[in-house]
């Protein structure tokens, strides 16, 4: 169970301009639920995920993961509960270190790291098996440095790393956006496979309406730092991308009209 209540965040741009990125977001996610997030550029999707991950502290609101209130916890501390994959394939791994070392570091997410050489034979075998499961022929490249892998291969490994130690919440922020369509498909398939296999609670941001509807059990639509629509169950079942767009335009009009109205009107 993930509880996000009244989350607010305002950024002050270097010029002094204030940007309200989140204006009171409420979101309850059941355990094992796979939620997709859509919205226009700058609607606050990444800000929402970053706030949950703890990249910055929110101005107001509460974030609870499981039964733990993580609102004031530093990022590294709540990392024990959260697995992440970023849009940028360079962001999730250490390029100068080997694939095996990257996996080992991820395996210890949120665990005390000791003065022990952790990359044992048995762990290498385990990683070998996991990489084989990706079917990207990465299993032979355990000792290769991460920087030599392609973007798609890196995202696949990052996804594996995010779930190697089972997280309470998996955050995926447009993690296929930087990839070519074939690699993007492959990563989406792996995502599905991993999420279903472990029944992971997941929040996935995407730019593709089709993907948002095809994947997961629930879709939320964000606009100007607010949740505009929250679709699930039968209401979501019958929708296609066109319907979604239609719906979005209508809601947006309502909202903008409401905002444009003078106070008290």
């Amino acid at each position: 169970m993930i509880e996000i209540i009244g989350l607010e965040k305002t950024f002050v741009q270097p010029g002094g301009e204030r940007v309200i990125a989140l204006r009171g977001v409420d979101l309850l996610i059941k355990s094992g639920e796979f939620v997709t997030v859509i919205g226009m550029n700058g609607s606050g999707k990444s800000t929402l995920l970053n706030a949950v991950a703890g990249t910055f502290l929110p101005d107001a609101g509460t974030i609870r993961i499981g039964n733990i209130d993580v609102t004031r916890q530093p990022e590294f501390q709540r990392a024990a509960l959260i697995g992440r994959v970023f849009q940028d394939p360079f962001k999730g791994t250490c390029p100068s270190m080997s694939v095996a070392e990257n996996l080992r570091m991820a395996e210890l997410r949120g665990v005390r790291r000791g003065l022990r050489v952790g990359l044992s034979h048995s762990s290498l075998e385990r990683y070998h098996a996991l990489l084989s499961g990706l079917k990207m022929r990465l299993e032979g490249r355990l000792q290769a440095s991460m920087g030599t892998l392609s973007g798609g291969q890196r995202q696949a490994v990052t996804l594996l790393m995010a779930t190697l130690r089972r997280p309470q919440l998996l955050l995926l922020d447009e993690h296929t956006a930087a990839l070519d369509p074939r690699a993007a498909d492959q990563i989406i398939n792996i995502t599905n496979q991993v999420v279903r296999e472990h029944a992971l609670t997941t929040l996935m941001v995407t730019h593709s309406m089709e993907q948002a509807l095809e994947q997961g059990d629930r879709t939320i639509m964000m606009h100007r730092g607010e949740v505009l629509a929250d679709l699930s169950g039968t209401e979501r079942e019958g929708l296609n991308a066109g319907d979604l767009l239609q719906r979005f335009t209508e809601l947006r009009y309502t909202i903008e009209f409401a905002v444009a109205k003078p106070p008290g009107g």
């Binding site: 590294f76 990392a79 962001k91 250490c94 790291r113 990359l119 440095s145």
Partner: protein, 645 residues
């Protein structure tokens, strides 16, 4: 400002009051300034205060003395002078030339009495003993360098070429070099010179003298070189070059011909008394110390493996050591419990020293590697933590602590320094460079406090070498240099293995990731800030370790030895990376960085050996590092530039 003006107005009154010999009500306030705590200057100081006391001027009862020591920091001297003015001192006493120079510049309205000045005319105190600035008088001490060269020739006629190191920044260097050359000409021997810009270059400088053909050293006076005289002794001993000192306050040379700084200080004290009693400094001529002192150190002669002709020993004012019931000075008492130095007549001696130093620098290179490459932190703390390691180890060893334990404490001190830099950066948000500069600057004071003076000699105390000789069987007769080389080699191997292991542990792996990808390692639940703090502690612990080893290798710790440490470390790292070519792997990288340190030291030694002017050495190093840093950037911008076209 108002206080200053008041003080200035008060001065003439005080002067008049001081002239009235009977009245004690307006007590004289003497401002006493000394540049550093070099032995010779301390002797002059003791003579000065003894003269005052002998005439009934008791400190704190019949006169007030504001005693200040700039601890080697020359700009501090002018601060001291303005402080004297502000405090309304009535007379200024200066010991050493630089202190006198500072006084000449700042003080014109009250008497200055100087001592321990080699040549007051060079610094502008006057043009002759009687024609000088009206408010200045003092006791000069023109050391008999020419006579010392002639005496050296008399004592060691088989030496056909003598030499000396000189400090190009010393205002008297030229004056004394002229004297030395005159003496050499009179004796009919050749005389060569090598410039030396810092205490750390003394060992290589002696080697360079040897390479130029000198087989004996008559060391001219110099504040910087005198402060690290133990390094001159150590290096000449090991290079088998007899040493003649031109000041008797420097211990460890078989022969020292100089003037008594104590007597010079005493004369200065007598001049001060005349002024206190109302005489005008303008009418008091400068007094030159003439009484020569010849000190023969038979213990030192034994260490050098030389015999001093009986005719010379019989002329000595003081003979240290020997079997006869001859005079034994206080210096001799210290020397009796020294550890025997084992010299080796190794034709590769020069390179042995270079490699040994290189091995000691390996730890420095690893420290710099850890900070700059692993943590991606531009850490400048090493310029201070290197000296800190040397200072802590040297002070503890001199105080009787076991060298091994002392070295260990030095590492801990370095770790604390690095940790502080880390905290400044992570908790207070200070930029990495600035945080390092702050700590480095603060460490200068800390290092002075640790040592209590600007230079601590390790010449005659047991260092890690003693421990080696204790371990190895008696049948193995390694020279000190060789033992140290072997020890440093072993240490470097062990340390390298530990480092390679550490960086592979789960913890070490996380530390490596901090520099590589901070966002990723935070997402893996690692506190990046804590890692930076611990990483910098580790890096500077290594740097301090290197400093502690170097101090024991060169025989002293000096407050100025850290200058350029970071650049040297960077140079070693860059060389190591060049040696790597396309090879990868942690073990290989660690090995090559150490190799880079040895190579870098080797290049510095080679440059000295080839007679390259050591003044340019730091410049060349800086240009080299700059080139190595800029080259990839230039190549990159050219590539991207053509790609965009």
């Amino acid at each position: 400002m108002r206080r200053l003006r008041q003080a200035v107005r008060f001065v003439p009154l005080a002067l008049i009051a001081a002239c009235g010999t009977k009245k004690d009500s307006a007590r004289s306030i003497i401002g006493y300034a000394q540049v550093s705590s070099v032995a010779a200057l301390d002797e002059a100081r003791d003579g000065f205060f003894k003269a005052l006391a002998d005439s009934g001027y008791v400190r704190d009862s019949s006169i007030t003395v504001l005693e200040r020591n700039a601890q080697g920091d020359i700009p501090t001297l002018s601060l001291i002078m303005s402080d004297f003015i502000q405090q309304g001192v009535t007379q200024v006493a200066t010991v050493s030339s630089v202190a006198t120079q500072a006084a000449l510049k700042a003080i014109t309205d009250r008497p200055i009495i100087f001592g321990a000045v080699a040549n007051p005319y060079i610094i502008g105190a006057g043009t002759s003993p009687t024609n000088h600035r009206p408010n200045v008088t003092g006791a000069e001490i023109p050391l008999p360098v020419d006579s010392a060269v002639m005496l050296a020739h008399e004592a060691f006629p088989e030496v056909k070429e003598w030499g000396t190191l000189f400090d190009p920044a010393d205002p008297f260097a030229e004056f004394y070099l002229e004297k030395a050359k005159a003496g050499a000409a009179a004796a009919g021997v050749r005389f060569v010179t090598v410039a030396c810009t810092g205490p750390g270059d003394i060992a290589s400088g002696i080697q360079a003298l040897k390479a130029q053909g000198a087989n004996g050293v008559v060391q001219i006076p110099s504040v910087m070189i005198g402060g690290a005289f133990s390094a001159v002794v150590k290096s000449t001993r090991q290079a088998d070059m007899p040493l003649v000192a031109t000041s008797t306050s420097f211990g460890g040379a078989p022969i020292a011909l100089g003037l008594s700084f104590y007597a010079n200080g005493y004369s200065m004290g007598l001049l001060m008394i005349r002024v206190l009693r109302g005489e005008n400094p303008a009418t008091i001529p400068f007094q030159a110390e003439r009484r020569r002192r010849l000190v023969i150190d038979l213990n030192a002669a034994r260490e050098y493996g030389v015999t001093i002709p009986a005719t010379i020993v019989s002329r000595a004012d003081s003979v240290i050591g020997g079997t006869g019931a001859s005079v034994t000075s206080t210096v001799g008492a210290r020397i009796t419990n020294q550890q025997p130095v084992r010299r080796g007549n190794n034709p590769f001696g020069f390179w042995l020293v270079a490699v040994t130093q290189g091995l000691a620098y390996a730890a420095l290179a690893w420290g710099v590697y850890l900070a700059s490459r692993t943590l991606h932190f531009a850490d400048i703390t090493p310029d201070g933590s290197f000296t800190l390691g040397a200072a802590v180890a040297a002070s503890l060893i001199v105080g009787g602590t076991d060298p091994l334990l002392a070295t260990f404490v030095a590492v801990l001190a370095g770790m604390v320094a690095g940790y502080v830099t880390g905290v400044l950066h992570t908790r207070l948000g200070i930029k990495d460079l600035l945080a390092g500069i702050l700590v480095m600057t603060a460490l200068y004071s800390v290092n002075l406090h640790v040592m209590g003076k600007s230079n601590v000699s390790l010449l005659d105390v047991g260092t890690l070498v003693r421990d080696v000789h204790r371990i190895i069987p008696a049948s193995v007769t390694w020279s000190d240099d060789l033992s140290l080389g072997v020890l440093f080699f072993a240490i470097t191997i062990v340390l390298g293995l530990i480092l390679a292991w550490y960086l592979r542990t789960d913890f070490g792996m996380a530390m490596r990731a901090v520099g590589d990808n901070p966002a990723m390692i935070t997402a893996q639940g690692v506190d990046r800030r804590r890692m930076i703090e611990l990483g910098l502690a580790l890096a500077n612990g290594l740097v301090a370790f290197s400093g502690a080893l170097i101090a024991q290798q060169q025989g002293f710790a000096d407050v100025g030895m850290g200058v350029g440490t970071l650049v040297a470390g960077m140079a070693a790292v860059i060389m190591g990376e060049t040696l790597l070519f396309k090879r990868r792997g942690l073990g290989m990288t660690i090995t090559m960085v150490a190799a880079g340190a040895i190579l870098f030291r080797g290049m510095v030694s080679l440059a000295l050996r080839l007679g390259l002017n050591p003044i340019d050495l730091k410049l060349i190093t800086a240009v080299f590092v700059l080139a190595a840093l800029a080259l990839p950037k230039l190549r990159y911008s050219r590539a991207s530039g053509s790609a965009s076209r």
